[in-house]
Symmetry: C2
Subunit: 720 residues, 2 copies
Amino acid sequence: MMRRFALPLLAMMAAMPAAAQTAPQAAQTATADAPLFAAEVTRSKAFVAQMMAEGISVPTPKDPGGGFTHEQHKRNYRAIYEAGQLFAVTGDPVYSGFVRNLLVAYADLYPTLGLHPAQANQQPGKLFWQNLNDAVWLVYAIQGYEQVRDTLSQADRRHIDDDLFRNAARFMSVDAVATFDRIHNHATWSTAGVGMTGYVLGDKDMVDRALRGSKRDGRAGFLRQLDELFSPDGYYAEGPYYQRYALQPFVVFADAIARNDPEQKIFERRDGVLLKAINTGIQLTYGGRFFPFNDAIKDKSLNTEELYQGVAIGYANSRDPALLSIAAYQDRVAFSEAGRAVARDLAAGLAKPFAFRSMLLRDGPKGDQGAVAVLRHGNSEDGLALVAKNSSQGMGHGHFDKLSWQLYNHGDEIVTDYGAARFLNIEAKQGGRYLPENESWAKQSVAHNVLVVDGKSHFDGDAERADRFAPTQLHFAAGEDFSVSTGRIDTAYAGVSMTRTLALVAVPGLQEPVAVDLMRVRADAPHRYDLPLHYNGHIIRQGSALQSHVAQRPVLGDAAGYQHIWVDAEGPVAPEKAFLTWMTDNRFYTWRWVPAAGSTLILGEIGANDPEFNLRREPVLIQRVDGARDLLFAGVLEGHGRHDSSTEQTVASDSQIRSIKSSSGDGVEAVLIETLAGVRVAIAVADDRDPAKPHRITVGGERLDWNGPAARIILPGTTK
Amino acid sequence: MMRRFALPLLAMMAAMPAAAQTAPQAAQTATADAPLFAAEVTRSKAFVAQMMAEGISVPTPKDPGGGFTHEQHKRNYRAIYEAGQLFAVTGDPVYSGFVRNLLVAYADLYPTLGLHPAQANQQPGKLFWQNLNDAVWLVYAIQGYEQVRDTLSQADRRHIDDDLFRNAARFMSVDAVATFDRIHNHATWSTAGVGMTGYVLGDKDMVDRALRGSKRDGRAGFLRQLDELFSPDGYYAEGPYYQRYALQPFVVFADAIARNDPEQKIFERRDGVLLKAINTGIQLTYGGRFFPFNDAIKDKSLNTEELYQGVAIGYANSRDPALLSIAAYQDRVAFSEAGRAVARDLAAGLAKPFAFRSMLLRDGPKGDQGAVAVLRHGNSEDGLALVAKNSSQGMGHGHFDKLSWQLYNHGDEIVTDYGAARFLNIEAKQGGRYLPENESWAKQSVAHNVLVVDGKSHFDGDAERADRFAPTQLHFAAGEDFSVSTGRIDTAYAGVSMTRTLALVAVPGLQEPVAVDLMRVRADAPHRYDLPLHYNGHIIRQGSALQSHVAQRPVLGDAAGYQHIWVDAEGPVAPEKAFLTWMTDNRFYTWRWVPAAGSTLILGEIGANDPEFNLRREPVLIQRVDGARDLLFAGVLEGHGRHDSSTEQTVASDSQIRSIKSSSGDGVEAVLIETLAGVRVAIAVADDRDPAKPHRITVGGERLDWNGPAARIILPGTTK
């Protein structure tokens, strides 16, 4: 980043007397401030200098996401915000003047605007193709205006107050009241923009509408959103990607509320749920990237404005030193007083490591809408992390992926979630909006690591029905050798109950814990069951020879996502040959399972029926069983060995597990793992949640006795 | 690396008194030496301590590459070498004793060995499945032995001298004389092993055979290899990957020759060709990885033992401070006295930047077997680099890829070469050997960015014929705004002459130079022409709608590599719609071409007829023309714009070029590029190599006049 900005800055300095004059002052600021904040000032000066050099450009709205007017209005609100902050930091009138000129141009334009010409089916905006972007514009612009308003002439102030901000606030809270009064992150941006505008203009009515909804009855508005959209554990219903996105208006508006209405005690509301939300958002990352649940863009990391603001405002209100180490990872801070304090304390060496750990995050306002279970072994950079998604649908951006899971190791995705089918702000791809394949593939059940019944997606792909039912988190426990989560849902398919246990299990002699997957299905009628595993890697060894479609590649189905899967090979698999080994980033992984009687294995690749090349080409394996009712799917994922390309050494490129066996009884089930070295470890699970209740099952000829919902049992080893 | 070794080391120290006693000494050494060498000592002590802890294991040879005995014998020769060096550094008898014990075990085993049971069709070895590995074993082992031989009892020395090393040298130079006397890198390892053994045992006969071949007539042997295998520019005939590989025995044996036969002046031979070879090997990398010509494993980087040795011995004999910055990049040095000196001088701040630059590397002993042209703009980490491969076939590891090219930018492959189809040392993949797909795909012409005539590979895939003919490098020039290479070959297909000009061309207003490709073919009969472009990225925009095979995917052909290409879409393309935009690593690239009359575009993906999933799935586009004779294929590759996922800003995701036009006349051709901004730049090329000769051509209605074989001509801009 620095390098990219450094050159333009120098260019600007040479070109622009105005900027040149402020250069010494810049240097001062830079030396007076801690490095990270000084860098923000430098970066911001370069950007604003560039914007100044280009001259005021406030074009009549025309283009959708990614287009010129869209990007220009985004650059403008950033310029308004940053120039405002620069004025606060430097006191240089060149910045307040620039903010004034931009806002006057907007004040001239705004009253002339109707709805955006490129409006899509979403709520339309005026400056942008969707209302949401207008709300974001307002949140940024009002913060910039706040810094300079006192310096303006009365005439300017009235022009900007009335023609721009009152108009914009009215558009948000009156014309677009439908959005404004939703319990949804779009509405959070709207209410934040309107509420902060209210504080700046001293308009109590605006503030009240923002806090309590357009009817001021508290059934809508920011406070209701705060109560409804986060769980008691600070989990946001739409998932990590939108948790990040939603965070910014929540923390920024909360910060304004704390400053203007301290008696609201906004950061203490619901046992400090906003601070929990910041922390939880960070816990929901691996290697700095958010777990890509639901409509998530995969390369979204902690390096986003939302998290700079989240860390800064979170730290200002919690003084949690672990947040400082996140700022260190980001190598950025928010360009605000709060960000300045983060940079200062980080430079003062006050940071403590942020402890990524196994945790259960309950979903739903009351915490009773299922949960997300994160099982970790080691750190977030190269440790092992398993994520079990037993949470609610999460509204419009939710996927039909009940009881899905993901696995990460050594910094790589191993068992993957496709995330969203979207190229954000890339105009050639549907104007940067969600692609048709987001509906036809990304949201569908078969696109996830879930059980698919009769080729239909969960809730038959009906989002409204899906929103009414959530899974139940039956059990969660985390330890050094054994971490486990069990979830259940009975409503995804009529007459079908799915119970899934996912665990990280240490097996003596293996280099790292294995992931165990026990998916038990009970049904009142026979069905076709498909259990896909979306993996990331290049196939190294197939357990059994399949019928390959080498000369012409068929498509797996014609609906519910199946139409996007090419079939490479398929066929029955013998128990001892039920494994697939692949290589990811020079490490080896073997998925091994207990094949059900009459089951077949399908090896496929995504990309069929995709004439626009909108989908990534990724591999998938599917276990298929026809005409079954009650069934236990048991699988084990094992990371083993390594290929070192510089020394050309390869170790353990083949699985170190000899066999796995499974069995299920009345409310109990188990899997027995035996390694090549003869070590035997069993995982046993019971429905009953009583931790003291004794259970018994026989698996692979061994009788297991244990107490409670789940246990890891080491059996006497066999001799080789 | 350090982290991976640090823990075992501490574990060893605790576990092993022997190692523990040497710990203080280790600390001393570490402090006495420069950091990089101290790290080698630490790393080596950890490895050797581990090997000691495991006890002597010299198994009877059984497994192919990647298998246990294969890897164990590799670990053993590394242990012999490193323990020998550790003894030299520390004087600790625990190390000389370990070398002795290992070598005695080998001396006991060796006389009992026949040829390796897993021998493939290559020349078999005794310790390994191929003779080559035995030679490598000998090169390492003799260096370790050299360090400790004087410390051994006479009995031990005789046992090891006679039963192990004389036997091994005899096996190499007598039993396997066919390999020994080849002019090939395998023979270089053989001769190096035998020659160095000769020096250590004081056996002049061995040395002579090594230097002058088994017949001592100089028609084979190391000196002949040195004269035949490198071009006057230090280019190795088999390409960068094998240049790296071949380098080690050349420099290591040369170093021994310089020490034992200084009068040979080995490093001055052929105007210092060995030192040139080290430098050239480094120049043939991008981002630290070797250009993957021919049978190349793509992830092979400068971080290999060969290059640690190459840098160390090169620096010892040239004192070129630029080599120190390569050592800094490697963050490693050879574990030898020469490596110690590199670490010392690097720590002393003597390093100078290594200048990666545009250069022409002639091929062939006399430099008349074509050439490799490297065109660079910027550095090797994120600069633009175009490689034109107009070199000879390069023996058995050569591909049928005459006049092929590759492009790199911002650290990514943009226009790619598949390299080898092989998973080195991964037993599940054909024992780690070359895969069948290396012949059926990787070597075939259609797997490269070359012109394919009538669906057959160059020289009809006949390696022996291919070795007899090389292209001609017609022109090369490198400058800031215009770098260009022209090559020709008339022998790849009977009656077909191909002349290809590749250039990096600065176009005013575009963010970086564009790559221009002019492929002119002349034939005495009509043919089918296929011009593939193997690109790395996700398709963002297709210029024209094609017929998509969305529901069933056909295969392009049945031989010469075509059987491995799935066809996604195909169809005719109108001139103004002849472009494809893809995204690589959040940057955009557009390939634009002038479609020949009646030509079609084929969009495909590799992976058909690949039941073992041996191939990577990669995209390719192919321009196809049927029934044509003389034709000019003109194309331009343009890098533009960027998507920043953290700020969600996207700029210039669409091409900034409005059109390209081309024309060809009698011995001249040209392409005219016009940008959206109306800037017009033409590239004109003439067959005649006379730099003063005037030429003229008309393209896009513009008359161009220039002198010499190639010119960049800025035309008056058009108004938008």
